[in-house]
Amino acid sequence: MKRHLRLFLLYLAQYTKVRLAYKADFIIAFFSSMAATVLGFGFVLVLFSKIPKLQDWSFYEILFLYGFSLIPLGFFNVVSWNLYEFGDIYIIQGRFDRILLRPVDTLFQVIFEKFRLESLQEVATGTLVIWICVRHLGLDWGPFDCLWFALMVVCGAVIYLSVFLILTAVSFWFEDRVGIVPPVFNMLTFARYPLTIYSVFIQFMLSWIIPFGFASFYPTTHFLGRKTFTPYFHLVPVVAATFFVLSIFVWNRGVRNYSSTGS
């Protein structure tokens, strides 16, 4: 564990150095990431300039939900870069060979070899928005709520990671780039709004098939005092742990199935 922490810091330091060596590139990436986030909030503002409430969710409640979804997603985005390119870089080009030749866990190497540092702005922006909402909604947060909040962020990030890990591991079996990642990624935006506004089918999908609801909607219900969702809220860590174990299992099966490239 201690060794992995050291390695993580070293990978991070090395990668940061590389990124900062290309300053212009980094600055552009940072501002485009920022612009995407701002536009997202812009959409919520425009929406609420037309309607006073979405079902019985007020502007600040929606904002809270939206802001919260950014935090685990931001952490996930920081480490997920290699997952998107995994099939191309690691499987088709055969770079996974080298991963297998090192005495470190394969997944650790893949996700920590590259960091999308600019996505940390999503974490910062999300936190800022949450702070504003907490004040406007007059929520009374004790230390326990803060702990719950932190736990929910961790669980959310783990859920995103698990889902995309399973999709990524598919490349171990199918080299043909099956384009399932982008549509699934887009489903993520669904869960930035209260699930109650959707049809039962989509609610079911986002809860039990691709559990993005457990990464953003259900966690917030607790802080917004929606007691009907309390059982779901308590299930968040269970869902996160289950999907994580499942994804590691699928990943390891994939690694065994890895067939490398010719020479």
């Binding site: 390695l7 090395q14 055969g94 005495p103 470190v104 890895y258 020479s263």
Partner: protein
């Protein structure tokens, strides 16, 4: 001492499917697939003793890389047994990799954008190399491979030869008893090749590192190893001593001679007879090739000197390339060591 590499009935099969063309074909591919089984490596056996330096050769697609990948734990064998340094490579992967160094000539293991020394520092952590050992090894490589000058250069700016030397150093930083090299001299010029070979000899002598290398370049093998294993279509065709192989399988000798002037060329016709061929190398240089069993070299030389005006004459053994080519073509077996 038990062998450091032991391979028994090792096989690897790949299941591929025939890809149909076009959009409709691609759709069909998703649902109906015709599978083909390719036997990349087919029941091979060999054992390598500690400290040996073995050349593993074969044509493209013969199964060299697949074997190396099973020995290094990258691929899981379909069948058979492989034990290296007491480990089953694919099963004990994380422990095992600390005991081996692997160099792929085609691909670097260094991080592309960072200085060489930074890559080494990462590897130091990855392999948990103690400070003192790391410094000693680094000094050793700086001197013997002369990598010192570009330790601070990013890998992408190095020439192929420089990069290969850094890659070698990187693969040996943790002082593994076993070194696998897949085409280590590919694309290198003569001087760079020579440096790599000298280094490998040195490390084999000093550290008793066991080396298994694949190569296309048979001069690598002649320089480096006494033992070669020849693989073709997934089967081992020959496993044994290089000198022994030459002695037993070289069929031809060749005499190369330089004519004094062009007037001599016309007289060459008289030489083409049973079992002797005469080929032009360049304007005045000719190569005569003949069966060792049928003709004595002394007689051939005497005939040449008697009938032609020659400036210079050289006797050569059949090049190892030619012997190996013949082995591939005939699929010659029967010379396997120990007849396992």
């Amino acid at each position: 001492m038990p062998p450091i590499i032991e391979v028994q009935d090792l096989s690897k099969e790949f299941r591929t499917f025939r890809r149909r063309e076009g959009v409709w074909g691609a759709l069909q591919n998703l649902f109906v697939r015709e599978y083909l089984t390719v036997h990349a490596v087919d029941r091979i056996n060999f054992a390598i003793e500690p400290g040996e330096m073995v050349g593993y050769i074969g044509a493209n697609g013969a199964g060299k890389s697949t074997t190396i990948k099973m020995l290094t734990g990258i691929l899981v064998p379909t069948r058979g047994r492989v034990v290296c340094n007491g480990f089953v490579p694919y099963r004990d992967r994380r422990h095992y990799t600390k005991h081996i160094g692997v160099v792929f000539g085609q691909r670097t293991q260094l991080w592309w954008d960072i200085a060489v020394i930074e890559s080494f520092k990462l590897l130091k952590e990855i392999y948990e190399i103690p400070d003192a050992d790391y410094r000693r090894r680094l000094d050793f490589f700086s001197e013997i491979l002369s990598v010192k000058d570009y330790l601070h250069t990013p890998v992408r700016k190095l020439s192929l030869g420089e990069r290969m030397r850094c890659d070698l150093a990187a693969s040996l930083l943790h002082n593994p008893p076993l070194l696998f090299l897949d085409e280590p001299t590919i694309g290198l010029d003569v001087v760079a090749k020579d440096r790599i070979r000298e280094f490998l000899k040195e490390i084999n002598r000093q550290e008793k590192t066991t080396v298994l290398l694949t190569t296309h370049d048979l001069s690598d093998i002649e320089e480096l190893s006494r033992r070669i294993i020849i693989i073709d279509k997934g089967r081992i065709l020959f496993d044994g001593d290089l000198v022994e192989m030459k002695k037993r399988l070289a069929k031809y000798n060749q005499v190369k001679f330089f004519l004094k002037d062009r007037s001599q060329v016309a007289k060459l016709d008289t030489f083409a007879r049973n079992g002797i061929s005469c080929d032009r190398v360049d304007e005045l240089t000719y190569l005569m090739r003949f069966d060792r069993e049928q003709h004595s070299t002394a007689e051939v030389i005497r005939d040449i000197v008697n009938q032609l005006q020659v400036r210079d004459i050289f006797v050569e053994e059949e090049p190892i390339e030619d012997i190996v080519k013949r082995i591939y073509l005939s699929g010659e077996v029967g010379l396997q060591k120990g007849e396992a």
